[in-house]
Every structure is written in structure tokens, then in C-alpha cells.
């Protein structure tokens, strides 16, 4: 523990009980339920950032309901986890009034576990839509994970804006293009958006409940499919949570190859996203050439790993199979050619004045709002918030293969696009460095024994920001509880705040500039 962390804990106005955390850079604390909001607000005031929140049902282990808030201390690569036993009750004082970033986590725990955050400003449902009956909390341990609850049909509760000339524009959940489902309720005057209520979780599949009781190796197949576009970062986050709990060091070749996979994932996502921005502005040559570059990167993924989305490569303890040396060599050359074409492509599209003009201005977010709402990844870095788990919490081989930070300050569509362009350039450089310095040896080790009833965090910087997995095991080394906090989950509330004040026709462009996954968020 860093001396400053120690000092921070000593000065905490709330009595904290220090418990033993299994992972090396985690500090586990217990506090009375009545004090958790105060403790959390204190940590945030001292520079801690909310990483995730988890609701727990410990009834089969002889306990009751509990809530945990985990904070990142980005300056020292540490995490503080504060857990409160609800002492037989089902409520605690909400964190959200002091920490707006907690808003969704608390609403979710209320839906899925029936844990009530008292004083939360938004009492509406989040994950479970109106068809789920009142009082039904599927992540409670006694609830059958397969059976369907009876259909309840209450009215969809959304915010309404009243005033002369204000009208509502409902869009979705099924959209016009090949896009994921979500419902957007705009309140407008003429072309101007006054308020946006985004309703998500249409693709909620119950991923966290499915994996309960599974061995981690098997659960990984499901976890990887939380989202195909972020499959590596979810796989790495989950696998490293398991490895950190088991206190296993994976071989350095595995760490380097995971870094390679994470950067390849970032590359095809960023390049594809830049192409989609062209689609949003009607720059068709840019759309087509962006799609070609993305396809070439996905073909490279397949030639290297056997999967266009890189699924099934990460395993607990390293990689499922080592990557072939000859393929690595060949693909290194292919990548150099894609890199050259990408640089020319980026120069080309940014040479089109009308394209640049269209990107500048819409969807502006300032740094203070991004920080308050807990933004992460490209969206945060484009608003001048220099957050990146690759440098703040070096995972995989990022302690050795260090990315140069990319930060823009405009906070608009242009800044988010620029961050992607610059990060893609940086990823090409990192991949080259990995291929040149890749250590030999094994690409996998045995995970070892999992500590009963212990939990650990695992994390990875995805193309959209930090994916944080919180995993707890039962007495037999199976998963007791998994909480997946994806970057999209952290960033969706930002989208709703970036749109008001803009024209309705700019919404698709603003939305594309965040390019958040619905599947990642909804689980």
C-alpha cells in the first residue's frame, strides 16, 4: 500500500475495518452500511475514481445482502474496495447524490438484487424493463436463473419536458440501419434537442447469472460474448481477475501476446469507427475506404488467431494456444502495409474541409462533466481527461510496452475522432514493438487454486475505455458472483448529456463519435 493511501485511510472520517484482499494492489475495507456513502464521498474527494459497484446476495454463505464500491487510485496503481454488509436489511444511503458516477450501478443493484439506495435521485428501473414483475430480483441467489417470471405490463416511465412547442420524438428500439437496439426519447423545440432520455438494456441476456456456478474456464466463453467488439478486453479482464485471485503470474509471452490482442482489437475498432464517422457525414469514399481497412484488419485477426473478432484466444492462465511464429511474421508485414494506407486515409479525410467542418462543435462535453459522470476511454480523453488503464493500472505487458498518452481538449465529435486517429497510429507502433520484442517461452500456465469466498478485480483498457470485472468464487472454485463493468456502461450517461443543445440530425453523428456498444452495457 502506498504511504499516501495509508494516510488517506487513517484520515478517513468513517471507521473502517481493514480486511485481507487477495490481489496485490487491492485494499479491502468493511464499513457500516450507514457510513458507506460518506466513506465513498471522502475517497472521491481525495482523488479516487469509482471503478465499479457490486450488489451481493450472501445468503447461501450465511450472510445477507451487501454492497461494494470499488475505487481506482490512478496515481498509485491501487484499488480500494469498500464493502458494507446491510445487516439483514436491503437498503443503504445512496452514493449518487455525492458521486453522480454511481447513478447506474445503484439503479442496477436495485433492479437485480432489490438493494435500495436511499436518497437516489432517479428511482426508475434501469436493467429490467416493465415486463418484469414488481419485487422480482433475478440476481438473488434463491431465484432460478432459467425460469421466466410472469409478464407484468406497467407503463414505460420516462422523463417528460413540458412547455410551449415542445414535442417528443421517440426513436427505436429497432433502428433503421444494422445497429444494436436502444430507445431514445428526444424532447425538442423545432430542430433543437432540449433533453434526451436514453433507454437501454434491451439486449440484457443475464450474462452475470449464467456464469454463476461455472468453472472460470468455461465461463470465459460466455464472458467473451458479452460483446464481440470488445471480446479481448472482456476476456483479459475476466481472466486476470481469476489469475489475480489465485495469485498466479502468467508467463511473460502470454502477457505480451495479450497486449498484442488488445491492440489489434483497438485497431480494427478505431479504424472501423473512423469509417463510420465518414458515413455519418456523407463522405462516402471515406466510408468505403474505412470499411476496407477494417476488413483487412479483421482478416489479419483471422490469419493470426483463427477468428475475425479474436474470440477464443485468451484463456485463464494465458492463451488457449500460442500464436504461430510464421503467422506473426507475415502479419507484421501485412500490418505495415495497412498502416501506410491508414495514414494516407486519415490525411485524405481530414483534408476535406466540409468533413472537418461538420465534426467541429457537435456533442461537446467538458472535462468536469466527464469526470463527475465517471467517463472513460476515448470519450474522456477527447475532453481533456487523461485516463487510461494501460498507463494508470498497467495490465498485460503495458508496464513494458508503454503507450504514449493521447489527449484532445475539444470535447466534440472532432476531438473524439482525432483521439481515435492518433490512438490507431499509436497502436500500429505498439504492435510493431510487440512483434519485435516478443519473448519466447510458454504462453500459458495453470491457474492454481482459487481462494474460497474471495473476490478480485480484473481490468483491461478496451477500445472504448476500461472494462472492469469483479469476480468472487465459492468454496469449490466456481464463480459465485461476477459483475462486468464495461466502458460502454460508464460512458452511456455521457451521450445523453452530449446531445441536448444540438440539432436532431446531429444525433447520429454524436452517437457514432462515442461508438458505445449496447451489448457491452446491457449484458
Amino acid at each position: 500500500m502506498h504511504t499516501q493511501t495509508k494516510a488517506m485511510l487513517e484520515q478517513c472520517p468513517v471507521p473502517l475495518d481493514l480486511r485481507r484482499a487477495v490481489a496485490p494492489n487491492e485494499t479491502l475495507l468493511a464499513c457500516p452500511a450507514a457510513d458507506i456513502a460518506r466513506a465513498a464521498a471522502y475517497f472521491v474527494s481525495r482523488g479516487a475514481e469509482l471503478a465499479t459497484m457490486v450488489g451481493l446476495d450472501l445468503e447461501p454463505l450465511g450472510g445477507g445482502l451487501a454492497i461494494e464500491a470499488a475505487f481506482s487510485l490512478p496515481a498509485f496503481d491501487e484499488f480500494i474496495r469498500v464493502q458494507a454488509d446491510l445487516e439483514g436489511g436491503a437498503s443503504y444511503p445512496a452514493l449518487t447524490p455525492a458521486i453522480p458516477a454511481a447513478q447506474w450501478y445503484e439503479r442496477e443493484a436495485k433492479d437485480l438484487l432489490g438493494i435500495d439506495p436511499v436518497g437516489h435521485p432517479d428511482p426508475r428501473r434501469l436493467v429490467l424493463h416493465e415486463s418484469y414483475p414488481h419485487g422480482y430480483h433475478p440476481l438473488r441467489k434463491h431465484v432460478d436463473g432459467v425460469a421466466q417470471a410472469p409478464i407484468d405490463a406497467r407503463r414505460f416511465d420516462h422523463f417528460e419536458v413540458h412547455g410551449e412547442g415542445v414535442y417528443e420524438l421517440p426513436v427505436g428500439p429497432i433502428h433503421a440501419g444494422v445497429i444494436e437496439p436502444g430507445h431514445f426519447r428526444f424532447s425538442n423545440i423545432g430542430d433543437l434537442v432540449l433533453f434526451l432520455d436514453a433507454r437501454l438494456f434491451y439486449t440484457h441476456r443475464g450474462v452475470e447469472k449464467i456464469v454463476e456456478g461455472m468453472a472460470p474456464g468455461r465461463a470465459l466463453f460466455t464472458v467473451e460474448r458479452t460483446c464481440a467488439a470488445c471480446t479481448v478486453s472482456h476476456g483479459v479482464a475476466f481472466a486476470s481477475a481469476v489469475e489475480r485471485a489465485a495469485q498466479v503470474e502468467i508467463p511473460s509471452r502470454a502477457r505480451w501476446l495479450r497486449t498484442l490482442l488488445l491492440e489489434l482489437e483497438r485497431l480494427y475498432n478505431h479504424v472501423g469507427d473512423i469509417g463510420n464517422i465518414c458515413a455519418g457525414t456523407g463522405l462516402h469514399a471515406g466510408t468505403a475506404r474505412g470499411a476496407i481497412l477494417k476488413e483487412r484488419l479483421q482478416r489479419l485477426n483471422e490469419a493470426l488467431t483463427g477468428h475475425r473478432f479474436l474470440m477464443g484466444v485468451v484463456d485463464i492462465g494465458g492463451l488457449r494456444t500460442d500464436l504461430d511464429a510464421r503467422a506473426l511474421n507475415e502479419q507484421g508485414r501485412a500490418l505495415a502495409s495497412i498502416h501506410a494506407d491508414f495514414s494516407m486515409y486519415a490525411d485524405g479525410i481530414f483534408g476535406v474541409d466540409s468533413f472537418v467542418h461538420r465534426l467541429k462543435g457537435p456533442g461537446r462535453l467538458d472535462a468536469a462533466l466527464v469526470t463527475a459522470l465517471g467517463g472513460t476511454g476515448v470519450a474522456a480523453r477527447a475532453s481533456g481527461v487523461a485516463t487510461d488503464y494501460r498507463t494508470q493500472h498497467p495490465h498485460a505487458a503495458y508496464a513494458t510496452v508503454q503507450p504514449r498518452p493521447v489527449v484532445e481538449t475539444g470535447g466534440d465529435v472532432f476531438a473524439r475522432t482525432m483521439v481515435r486517429v492518433r490512438e490507431a497510429e499509436e497502436s500500429f507502433r505498439l504492435v510493431r514493438a510487440i512483434l519485435d520484442g516478443l519473448p519466447g517461452g510458454a504462453a500459458r500456465t495453470e491457474a492454481g487454486r482459487l481462494p474460497p469466498r474471495a473476490a478480485a478485480l480484473g481490468y483491461a483498457e478496451s477500445p472504448r475505455g476500461a472494462n472492469v470485472h469483479w469476480v468472487m468464487f465459492d468454496d469449490g472454485g466456481r464463480i459465485y458472483r461476477l459483475r462486468i463493468r464495461s466502458a460502454a456502461y460508464a460512458n452511456w450517461p455521457l451521450v445523453a448529456r452530449a446531445v441536448p443543445g444540438n440539432m436532431v440530425p446531429d444525433f447520429p453523428l454524436i452517437n457514432k463519435s462515442f461508438e458505445l456498444c449496447y451489448a457491452c452495457c446491457d449484458r
Binding site: R225, E302, G306, M344, I349, G351
Partner: protein, 119 residues
């Protein structure tokens, strides 16, 4: 200048579009698609045990035989069954034309001892 170059590039690079389905695909296809070779099966059931989606089922058939079935409609092509099979009775292929009309059309069924491709 840069953008003109970008627009003209296809003229230099030539055609990107695949000829499929007019001609076989030119992409390197993933060799993760399992194909069962019943004559090699030793009935250790490792494939069914490891399958993360229970796509492989082995059930008793009449006359003491067994029915080995792979439901390609549930398969996630993780290739774990290929990896764990000691006699390599499950081959890794790059087949991808697996679509079929009707649910039964995507299930490969074999009666062990008396191999018969049900697809």
C-alpha cells in the same frame, strides 16, 4: 490533394470485391469447424464433456449402439472438441457453408458402429 489520392486509389489497387459465391472464397478461412469422423471415435465422450454450449450429445440408440450428434446451430466453433479428442476423430476444417432450411438441417447425426451422415 490527399483526398483525391484516396478516391483514385482503387484504380491502382484493383478490385477488392470477393468473387464468392461465383467462385470459392479467397479468404483464409478459420480452421475451427469440427467435422466428425465416426470410424476413429473411441467413445471417451471428452468432446461432449468439454463443449461449452452442449452442442455435442451422445445418446443410446437402438441395438446397443450410440447416436453421436453435433448441433452446428448451437456450436460456437471454439474448437475445444477438436483439441481434446485423443484419436483426432474430430477434424478441424474451414467449411463454412453450413446454412440449411429447417432446424434439423444444421444437426449432423451419426450412429456409431454404423456410420451414417444425417446432414
Amino acid at each position: 490533394m490527399g483526398f483525391i489520392q484516396l478516391v483514385l486509389k482503387p484504380l491502382v489497387r484493383g478490385r477488392a470485391t470477393v468473387r464468392y459465391p461465383g467462385a470459392p472464397t479467397d479468404s483464409v478461412t478459420t480452421r475451427r469447424v469440427p467435422r466428425f469422423q465416426p470410424e476413429l471415435c473411441i467413445d471417451d465422450r471428452a468432446c461432449a464433456a468439454i463443449c461449452p454450449t452442449d452442442a455435442i450429445t451422445i445418446s443410446p440408440a437402438g441395438g446397443g449402439g450410440r447416436r453421436w450428434a453435433l448441433d452446428y446451430g448451437r456450436c460456437i466453433f471454439c474448437a475445444e472438441c477438436i483439441r481434446v479428442c485423443p484419436p483426432l476423430a474430430i477434424a478441424a476444417t474451414g467449411d463454412f457453408e453450413l446454412a440449411a432450411r429447417g432446424r434439423a438441417g444444421v444437426i449432423a447425426e451419426f450412429l456409431l458402429g454404423e456410420p451414417r451422415d444425417g446432414r
